[in-house]
């Protein structure tokens, strides 16, 4: 009898440690490629990152040196415009979904958002090509921004909805009880209280789209020169990486590695900013 109990306890212990080490091993295996990619990127790219690399234009084939200034400026402009387009729409959708979760359109909106999240980015690029690029008569930075904005909507709308749902009902009641209208309650009480969640949704979506190449191929196209005209083709970091990485020239491939590292550092910084923002604007209810 006692033997049986002892044996049961021992088996349980063994199972326990097997499970524990299994979980650790799988996590390690999953993280390993990530670390490897980062290591490889740093190793390849770190030599090309210099001040000149960030502030100079690419040089013609055959000449050494040159930078990616046009791509950095292009990415900044395209992402900035994408934010301006996406943020109001996404927040509006999020507010609607959390306020009227059972309304007729809400179910359709939620389904569309889930679907949109799963649509391959190249498909979005093609659709925007048909809808915007063709009618406009040529590639343009703004069409790239629209494509990226569409990709930004699902994560921001979801983040807004989820955060607003967690804002306690008491806040809403308090606002209404002071004679605030529905609009005032949303703008002055609910959205500020949900700020941290919405903001982290926005930043993470920026991180997500800043590396997107496919939707930009058919839209903003790329541009070897520095341009700030949003109705004309514009370069961006992912496009530059794509173009230079498939080129046969060592010099250009080196630039691509450097640009990849710049992009990764940018995304890394965004993640850190998210963490800080979440902590700083965290709302205790």
């Amino acid at each position: 009898m006692i033997n049986n109990v002892e044996r049961a306890v021992r088996t349980r212990h063994i199972k326990n440690s097997v499970f524990k080490w299994g979980v650790i091993a799988f996590t390690f295996i999953a993280v390993l490629p990530l670390i490897f990619i980062l290591y490889y990127l740093v190793q390849k790219g770190v030599t090309s990152i210099t001040w000149a690399f960030l502030t100079h234009m690419p040089k013609p084939v055959g000449e050494t040196g040159g930078g990616i200034l046009n791509a950095i400026v292009g990415s900044a402009i395209i992402i900035f415009m994408a934010c301006i387009i996406a943020i109001p729409f996404s927040i509006a959708i999020g507010v609607y979904l959390s306020e009227f979760p059972k309304a007729g359109i809400a179910n359709w909106a939620r389904l569309s958002i889930d679907m949109l999240q799963g649509v391959p980015s190249i498909v979005i690029g093609i659709v925007i090509y048909e809808w915007v690029v063709k009618p406009m008569g040529g590639f343009s930075a703004i069409s790239g921004s629209i494509a990226l904005a569409i990709m930004m909507i699902p994560p921001i709308a979801k983040a807004t909805e989820e955060t607003l749902k967690r804002v306690p009902a008491g806040l809403k009641e308090a606002s209404f009880s002071l004679g605030a209208s529905y609009y005032q309650t949303t703008m002055r009480a609910l959205l500020p209280a949900a700020m941290s969640g919405i903001l982290s949704g926005v930043i993470l979506s920026i991180a997500r789209i800043s590396g997107e190449t496919a939707p930009l191929l058919f839209t903003s196209f790329g541009n070897p020169y520095l341009s700030a005209n949003i109705t004309k083709p514009m370069s961006s970091i992912p496009l530059l990486i794509f173009n230079y990485a498939i080129s046969p020239y060592d010099e250009w491939q080196k630039l691509a590695w450097g640009a990849s590292l710049v992009l990764i550092i940018f995304i890394f910084l965004l993640n850190i900013i998210t963490k800080i923002a979440e902590r700083k604007w965290k709302v205790q209810y």
């Binding site: 008491g170 806040l171 009641e173 308090a174 606002s175 009880s177 002071l178 004679g179 209208s181 009480a189």
Partner: protein, 289 residues
């Protein structure tokens, strides 16, 4: 008499049609207003029935409350006292499936009439909730919120009103040096007094309190009770409470609700010393509920 004083005279004719004659000095106006308050019901409900979908929450409630009084609503959980409280600022309208029949009057006006603007109504009827629910904003902005949403932009006026409201809510001394601090950094009792200051900043004439001290410690509760007693001079107060002693201490009149019905409504003293109904007697002596 329809000449010069025509407009002002109308103000002091009370609904019973008794006219105030002679010279209308401001003193007399005040006196007349006072007498009118004495006679007139500030709040009144006639045959009010409420439903949440199929659930019949209130049954034929007839009650009237005078100006400058504190009325306590007591009864076991789910008896409808909170529902009753919340019909006066139409807070129940937010709940899906809520339906009301009968008349709810404030200053003899039906607040469920079509031409009533719900925001205007809620400006006149302040509310303090069970759980302190300050906005995650600064202390100052919390009190100023009601003014701002009602379109007040005059900076000096807002500042003065915030100060006055915080003083009225007996919180000024504790927070005057940290008005820009987040309201959530205050203690529970302070938060609740802040919510009271927020409610009275827009100068309502009625203040509804839904178990305002149930989440607070005894000392904070005592402060709030003291405050209620002082606020009575300016407002008509309706308070829901589970605390019998509190009802006895702060209120002039007490209403006992049970299963959606108003069992007894009388002077607080009478309710607690000499109730007419057996159910009331049983409840206040703690035999059920």
């Amino acid at each position: 008499m329809n000449g010069l004083f025509g407009e002002r005279k109308r103000e002091v004719i009370n609904p019973n049609g008794v006219e105030v004659t002679g010279l209308l000095s401001s003193e007399m106006l005040k006196m007349a207003q006072y007498k009118e308050n004495e006679r007139m019901n500030k709040l009144q409900t006639k045959n009010v029935n409420c439903w949440y979908s199929d659930f019949h929450a209130l049954r034929d409630i007839n009650m009237e409350m005078k100006h400058n009084t504190v009325t306590a609503l007591i009864g076991p959980s789910g008896c409808g006292k909170s529902t009753y409280l919340r019909i006066f600022n139409r807070m129940n309208d937010l709940i899906e499936g809520f339906r009301l029949e009968g008349e709810v009057l404030i200053d003899n006006k039906d607040i469920f009439a079509k031409d009533i603007r719900i925001n205007e109504l809620r400006k006149k009827v302040g509310m303090v909730f069970q759980k302190p629910n300050p906005f995650p904003k600064s202390i100052f902005e919390n009190v100023a919120y009601g003014l701002r949403v009602n379109g007040v932009t005059h900076k000096k006026f807002i500042k003065e009103t915030v100060e006055r409201s915080l003083k009225q809510a007996a919180l000024w001394e504790e927070v005057k040096d940290k008005l820009d601090k987040n309201a959530l950094s205050l203690s529970g009792g302070q938060q609740q007094r802040l919510c009271i200051a927020r409610a009275i900043a827009i100068e309502p004439s009625v203040v509804l309190m839904d178990e305002p001290t149930s989440a607070l410690d005894p000392i904070s509760s005592a402060k709030i009770e003291e405050l209620i007693w002082e606020l009575k001079a300016k407002y008509t107060i309706l308070i829901v409470t589970h605390n019998m002693q509190q009802a006895a201490r702060v209120s002039d009149k007490t209403a006992f609700f049970y299963l959606g019905e108003l069992i007894e409504y009388d002077d607080t003293k009478t309710i607690f010393t000499n109730p007419k109904k057996e159910k009331t007697q049983n409840y206040i002596t703690g035999r059920f509920g």
